[in-house]
């Protein structure tokens, strides 16, 4: 069923919410709108974006595909904390609607039982836009994703209201972005470390080009990057690579 966007608009009077039954990607629309605070939502994306050209699986009626305009411009060093803040917001929104406790996998994955339930993407182009994809009511995933993805429906055994989820996501995003602005990056990093089992003391492997680094996580540094104590004893700061858990 299509999203009942009217009910969300009624709950958030004055908020600009653009809705599409089908769109290529909400990221493109949000960047074109450019007005900070604008929400762009789609029932289906035909070219949903993941990181660096990856596709975000965006089947109709099942997921929640949202972009938020963060600002016209932002300092480059403010973008990573915004990603972490929105991961916290997504986990909080999911908790309010389902009572599920999500884990956060640095930097931008929201996890349930070691599988990805939501992802965050922040892009700076014509405007700074955050994309949030939540696997809400997927009953099955394509084979290529089945081992690493889950949905709120699969985790709870029942359908969730995407309207309620969207409403809570907007409110939680506003709150965590305000926290970043008022309390600063360190407050966001601190909250992330409290919430994420990946941030500290977790045995991980990190992709870097074609190499894998193995080690144990030691928290976030002052800029929000992940610090890993490698097996050879050296401390390494991870700037980019995908982090995957290893069994201890």
């Amino acid at each position: 069923m299509a999203l009942d966007i009217a009910s969300v608009r009624r709950a958030l009077p004055g908020r600009r919410i653009e809705y599409f039954e089908t769109v290529d990607t909400t990221m493109r629309v949000a960047a074109a709108v450019g007005q900070p605070g604008t929400i762009v939502v789609a029932n289906e994306q035909t070219a949903g974006q993941g990181r660096h050209g990856h596709v975000w699986h965006s089947a109709p009626d099942e997921g929640l595909y949202v972009s938020i305009v963060l600002g016209r411009t932002m300092a480059a060093c403010d973008l990573p904390p915004a990603t972490l803040a929105l991961g916290l917001a997504t986990a909080e929104a999911i908790a309010r609607v389902t009572d599920l406790g999500c884990d956060l996998r640095w930097p931008n994955d929201v996890m349930l039982e070691e599988r990805k339930a939501a992802g965050i993407l922040v892009q700076a182009g014509d405007a700074v836009v955050a994309g949030i994809g939540i696997n809400a009511n997927h009953a099955v995933f394509p084979e290529t994703l089945a081992g690493e993805a889950t949905s709120l429906r699969l985790a709870t055994g029942q359908e969730v209201s995407r309207e309620e989820l969207l409403f809570e996501l907007i409110r939680a995003s506003d709150a965590f972005l305000a926290m970043l602005r008022v309390a600063g990056k360190r407050a966001i990093f601190d909250q992330f470390m409290r919430r994420s089992s990946y941030a500290r003391g977790r045995r991980v492997q990190v992709a870097r080009g074609n190499e894998w680094t193995h080690g144990v996580t030691e928290g976030l540094d002052g800029a929000g990057f992940l610090v890993v104590r490698r097996d050879d004893g050296a401390r390494e700061t991870i700037y980019t690579g995908g982090v995957r858990a290893l069994s201890a």
């Binding site: 660096h52 300092a75 060093c77 990573p80 309010r96 602005r181 800029a223």
Partner: protein, 149 residues
């Protein structure tokens, strides 16, 4: 910290659902801890966008002093990984020898999975590319040399 600021922080703790928030400023420190789950807050908060800074050095162009012909260097505004193309297998944004105009995307620097498009600040000819695709780059590291037109 003023009482208004502290009040705002308390409100944020409630709205975000977190258990505890500690904020340290140069002169003061405040810790806010929630002991009971508040009733769901039905009121909505006005949207307050993240502080918008000036476009922080989107590609600072420095003059290479040694180069009498004034080669403009495009430097990375952030620590990350350099990508020459929008997605794996796609053609590069620019090639050496190509003429570019201001605003032309030259490359992407990925930092914490954020894709930062780096644009040309000046019109000119790409004379050199200084880093390899997929290579980590430091803050301020030179990425391209452009000979201004």
């Amino acid at each position: 910290m003023t009482t208004d600021e502290i009040r705002e922080l308390i409100q944020l703790v409630n709205e975000s659902g977190i258990a505890e928030l500690e904020v340290e400023r140069a002169e003061s420190r405040v810790r806010i801890r929630r002991t009971i789950q508040p009733e769901r807050i039905e009121a909505t908060v006005p949207y307050q966008p993240v502080a918008v800074a000036n476009p922080a050095a989107p590609a600072p162009v420095a003059k290479a002093e040694a180069d009498a012909a004034k080669l403009a260097l495009v430097k990375s505004p952030i620590v990350g990984t350099f990508y020459e193309c929008p997605s794996p297998g796609a053609p590069p944004f620019v090639a050496v020898g190509e003429t570019v105009q201001p605003g032309k995307v030259l490359c992407i620097i990925e930092s914490m999975k954020l894709m930062n498009e780096i644009e040309a600040e000046v019109a000119g000819v790409i004379e050199s590319r200084l880093v390899a695709n997929g290579q980590p780059v430091e803050y301020g590291e030179a990425l391209f040399g452009i000979r201004p037109l």
